[in-house]
Amino acid sequence: MENGGLMHTLAFFLLSGITLAAAMGVVFKRNLVHSAFLLSVTFLGVAGLYMTLQAEFMAAVQALVYSGAVAVLVVIGVMLTHRQQMSRSNPPNKMLLVGALAALSVVGAIVWAILATPWKVGKGSVVTAGDIGRRFLTDFAPPFEAVALLLLAALIGAVVLFKGGKAQS
């Protein structure tokens, strides 16, 4: 697909539309399970956007990890937690107007910034998984290893919190 071509533009708007509509659904659906599945659609939409940016590896990771694993985990988490009735598990709150105003003003600021800034758009090059891996283990080795520690901390944390919950009941 050529950058800036008709198909490219069309794909961008289509995928953005799907992503945004699904994201709205995540917030507004009353049933938490519906929200969780729509979250998966949002992730897939983002994966599609990565494809249009020629970031195939990112798109694959997005689809596998987020849409595949994270969304499923959210659904399982919802199913395992205690609740009365699923159809009212994601209730709206009374801050709708204030929230909408705040969100709109933030969106306004960002849109203004993006439209008014002259971006330097390059040709771009295809980044392969190999390139990413090489940079992980050279330039970006410290943050890469730090992320490994972060995952270990999260794992330990999950066990700690689980034990705490068990001691409580």
Binding site: A109, A113, P142, P143, A146, L152, I156, V159
Partner: protein, 472 residues
């Protein structure tokens, strides 16, 4: 590949893993106090090793991770803070219902995150450092799951910190979009004046303001400080704040000055708001942890005045003040640990009459609080002197005047606690037991606060050397 630049981080991470493995080899019911001593011994050893590392300049690959005196000074601040927190948390950890060894492990992981923040010289390393520190804190804050307050604090911290991270990450993506590069050196050259730079810069600044608890991003602090176990609150107050400043000062010194926007104006607003909100909201607090939370908001305001000048004199003040804030903080929270142990509460009524039951602790608390207020001859006075004089030299007279007036206001609520300790009647007649490590920590913190107030020369020299590596 220069592994020497990463030496301290790797050593702390290895120490954490060692404790994790040693815990598995111990009997399930056995006390984990030995592991606490192991953590303290390991960190102390590293602190001694790090003393000999001044003047070493280095970078791990293409300058994305720096080793310099500035980062080293911050790493020593974190190490000292972590050693003292481990020391006075030994008994708190012994009384935890479960997962005692993991407490030290997560604490060390948080320290690794802070150290990475001090050395980070590109946006990715910066973000990962922040997340490593914050993730460890999520769990530490909610460690005592059977206490509703602790759980509530953890959830609040999780949701708000995630939102702050998201905002900061979006800001970074805008900066990256303008410059097309991630390292600070390249950003400094590549960032051109544009609306996206304003929005991106403000978003990154908001993320930092959340970490250092400056208004309007301070709302999490009182609730989280109140709910978290006391040692965690202490580390959150000094470590998280110091790490936030470490990264913020570097990015504001290296990236933003050349972009042509008046960033000091934003810092000025943040600083004024922090001093006003922190000091005024602290007055009506009766829970001491909440009071110290608002007081730490005010401290962030004082520290921000040091960044206004954009020169090394102010940064020297920031470094000096953060180091002495560690000691004042540890003193206050160590005493609070003992009081909370005895009374099972942390209100101003619980501390009443402390001077009769534990005169040493009452003195430590008094010294720590007065140092935070900036009363001479304590260390806090010298720190505030450096900060405010750098702001005045840079032409920001009014913020220094505001800081001075509000410091006087802060004396009121600090002295309120002192009054309760010395004049109030004790709430019970039970004998007051102080664990040895808590006593040692408290007295050490007080001695350091006094010593650095009377003889600030060596530390201020060290801070000056460190500040000069950022402002060449």
């Amino acid at each position: 590949m220069n592994f020497d630049a990463l030496m301290l981080e790797m050593a702390v991470a290895l120490l954490a893993l060692l404790i994790l493995v040693a815990d598995l080899l111990m009997e399930p019911g056995q006390s984990r106090r030995k592991l606490g001593y192991l953590a303290i011994a390991g960190l102390t050893g590293l602190l001694l090793v790090s003393l000999g590392r001044y003047g070493m300049q280095g970078a791990f690959f293409n300058g994305l991770f720096l080793q310099d005196d500035y980062a080293l000074f911050f790493k020593q601040t974190f190490l000292i803070g972590a050693i003292l927190v481990c020391l006075f948390s030994l008994d708190t950890v012994d009384n935890l219902p479960h997962s005692r060894a993991e407490f030290y492990v997560l604490l060390l992981f948080a320290v690794v995150g802070m150290m990475i923040l001090a050395s980070a010289n590109d946006l990715i390393t910066l973000y990962v450092g922040i997340e490593l520190m914050t993730f460890s804190f999520f769990i530490l804050v909610g460690y005592v799951l059977c206490e509703t307050k602790s759980t509530e604090a953890a959830i609040k911290y999780l949701v708000l910190a995630s939102a702050a991270s998201a905002v900061m990450l979006y800001g970074m993506s805008l900066l990256f979009g303008i410059a097309g590069q991630l390292s600070y050196n390249a950003l400094a050259k590549g960032l051109t004046a544009s609306p996206a730079l304003i929005v991106g810069g403000v978003m990154v600044l908001s993320g930092f303001a959340f970490k250092i608890a400056a208004p309007p991003f301070h709302m999490w602090a009182p609730d989280v400080y109140e709910g978290a176990p006391i040692p965690v609150t202490a580390l959150l107050a000094m470590g998280s704040k110091a790490a936030g400043f470490a990264a913020m000062v570097r990015i504001f010194a290296e990236v933003f000055p050349g972009t042509g926007y008046p960033w000091p104006l934003l810092l000025l607003l943040l600083s004024g708001a922090a001093m006003l909100v922190g000091n005024l909201a602290a007055i009506p607090q009766t829970n001491l942890k909440r009071m110290l939370a608002y007081s730490s908001v005010a401290q962030a305001g004082y520290l921000l005045t040091g960044m206004l000048s954009g020169g090394f004199a102010g940064v020297k003040g920031v470094l000096f003040y953060l180091m002495i804030y560690v000691f004042a903080n540890v003193g206050a929270f160590a005493v609070l640990t003992a009081v909370s142990r005895h009374r099972n509460g942390e209100t101003i009524g619980d501390i009443a009459g402390l001077s009769r039951k534990a005169p040493v602790l009452a003195v430590v608390m008094t010294v720590s609080l007065l140092s935070m207020a900036g009363i001479p001859p304590l260390a806090g006075f010298v720190g505030k002197f450096f900060l405010f004089s750098s702001a005045i030299d840079a032409g920001y007279l009014w913020i220094a005047v505001l800081g001075f007036v509000l410091s006087m206001v802060s004396v009121y609520y600090y002295l309120n606690v002192v009054k309760s300790m010395y004049l109030g009647a004790p709430a019970d007649d039970r004998p007051f037991e102080i664990a040895m490590p808590v006593r040692v920590t408290a007295v050490f913190a007080m001695a350091a606060t006094l010593a650095m107030g009377v003889y600030p020369g060596p530390l201020s020299q060290l801070a000056e050397t460190a500040a000069k590596t950022v402002f060449k």
